[in-house]
């Protein structure tokens, strides 16, 4: 296809992506260097028969005027990145000097909002991704062994958790697991602890969200693995059966190597999706004990008094850096393949 024709065909979609994906990233980058204005204060002298007092109040008029003049806020450089709510360089230095043991230091650092969210996000990715691969693969294997006639409805039932939006999926589970729901109430009875509830324990909340993640993402892994299983050639499998290979050996040495590229694909996609975990935290109302990077950004953007654009943007930029680190190995590999292919 000539370049000119390509240009006109690609222009609409390219424009949409540049304007609404490319530019916003740049806009986020710019915003992250600005911080909202401080409130302008003034001294008010108030006199009554017993004497005069000086109090400091916010000058509403001047504050709103300065906000109107420079809506982006004041230039802050990398100030937002290193403040207490983000990388907290100063605080970490202080903790390092003040704490006696390393455990204590780690404890202090993981209480800072950014690191707390980072640790939750990474824990979520670390537990959900491998389990999704495993469960998806097992479901695919066992559904593949079922009579073809009843597979359709079974597949439909299997993919249900994936097609609902995460907020709805987590709500549906939350209503069952909550202390007043069917599972929660039965657990209380079983453990003989009337105060046992999701909200009371941080570990329990984390486990619930991770289980939700596995429940929600496994169907995707299943669908892809199931399709890949249909393409496994029959001859080597039959040869292996005649040679006396066990079922496990067949899976390990014939099926897995065949679908290996697909496994990397699913791992990559689910890693990307898990890194942006956010809606389940709202669905499970787990803000108290579990915060993710995306949730921090959301929280800044729905802030009641004044939207913290700078703070949200700084967290966004660091999230993008995290995504870049996750994607780097894949990109480097693709680039190498591309270069050798030429």
């Amino acid at each position: 296809m000539p370049n000119k024709t390509f240009f006109w065909f690609f222009l609409p979609t390219g424009l949409a992506m540049i304007l609404f994906i490319g530019l916003p990233i740049i806009s986020t980058g710019i915003q992250s260097f600005y911080a909202q204005h401080d409130q302008v204060v003034k001294e008010v002298k108030k006199c009554d028969p017993f004497g005069c007092t000086v109090s400091i109040v916010v000058d509403q008029e001047k504050t709103s005027k300065i906000r109107e003049e420079k809506p982006l806020g004041k230039f802050n450089g990398f100030g937002t990145y290193v403040d207490r709510n983000h990388l907290a360089i100063e605080e970490i230095g202080k903790f390092w000097n003040e704490t006696n043991t390393f455990g204590e230091f780690v404890d202090q650092v993981t209480n800072l909002p950014f690191y707390k969210a980072l640790i939750f996000t990474l824990t979520y990715c670390l537990f959900v991704t491998p389990n999704v691969l495993l469960l998806g693969f097992i479901i695919a294997l066992s559904l593949n062994a079922v009579t073809r006639r009843i597979r359709g409805p079974l597949i439909f039932g299997t993919i249900l958790p994936m097609i609902v939006t995460p907020l709805v999926g987590s709500l549906v589970l939350f209503w069952m697991i909550d202390a007043e729901g069917i599972i929660g109430a039965n657990l209380q009875m079983l453990m003989d602890d009337p105060y046992l509830s999701l909200k009371s324990s941080k570990t329990l909340t984390w486990i619930t969200i991770i289980i939700y993640g596995i429940w929600h993402h496994s169907p995707f892994a299943f669908v892809v693995f199931y399709a890949a299983l249909q393409t496994v050639p029959q001859e080597p499998v039959e040869a292996a059966i005649i040679d006396g290979a066990s079922r496990w050996q067949r899976v390990r040495h014939i099926v897995l190597p065949h679908i290996y590229p697909v496994v990397t694909f699913v791992a990559l996609i689910s890693l990307m999706d898990n890194f942006r975990v956010f809606e389940p935290i709202i669905g499970f109302s787990a803000e108290g004990s579990a915060q993710s990077l995306s949730w921090l950004i959301y929280d800044n953007l729905v802030n009641e008094e004044v939207i913290l654009f700078g703070s949200a943007a700084a967290t966004s930029m660091m999230t993008i850096v995290g995504i870049a680190i996750l994607l780097a190995p894949v990109l480097i590999r693709t680039w190498k393949e591309f270069r050798t292919a030429r």
Binding site: M1, I21, I25, I155, V172, A228
Partner: protein, 293 residues
Amino acid sequence: MEYGLDKRSNALKIFNTTFIIVWLLVACFPFIWTFWGSFKVRADFFSRADWWYAITAFNTLLETGGKFTTDAYSQAWTEGEFWKASRNTVIVTFFVVTISLFLGTLGAYALSRSTRNYAFWILIAALIFRAMPHITLVSGYLFPFFQLQIWGILPTTIVVLVAINQPFTLWLLYSFFKTVPKELDESALIDGCSYFQAFRHIIMPVMWPGVITAGLFSLMLAYNDFTVTALLLNQENHTMVPKIQSYLGTNQHEGNLMWAVSAVVSATAPLFMLVMFFQRQVISGLTAGAVKG
């Protein structure tokens, strides 16, 4: 594997069947339970006293006189203004799907017929864009949209959702266009068609399965979106998913939590029907990028 060579032991068969039944229960029961519970009053579905009430409908019987009640639905749809939310969802979904498909088919066709290096790099860039968490993009939109005074209205959200959806649509349609033989449009070009005519009259007619799949995924993205719609629309224009969340926030009313339950069922039911109808396309779409590529 049905050649009689591969004999499964009975133990394995039993294990397999049990596993599938357990998994299906885990996957489907929450939805069945919520559907069942949406016809009860709050005191039954969220019972402090005894969860068994949700089945015997003790309080529902007391409060409404019947074992099932549709109060939650009628209240949510009228008083809770869920009708408005669903109307907004229909508008947003319709426009996102049509615009996405229009832009996506043009772009993906060009990508699949180009032999240059830049086509490869565009696809890689699209993959990177696909990886961006939507909330980071939203944090980039908010400030400029406030300044341009286009925040809160449906058209802005539609355009944003179309753009966010493009990378995935491009990849999906690209892999579908690759399966259409090049000879088909080349012969049309020799006969004197322009590229656009070849695309319009020769390629599109054989591309319907791919277009339906891509359309379904655009529909699911627009229909299910929470991040963009919750932050870019004002109260008045909220679509279904942010509306459900707003029912959760205001717990003063006795009925509101049940509104959320009935709203969840109302929002999920059409989606399930659609997927039941188009199951084959959904699965082919999910695997197109993985297995063929």
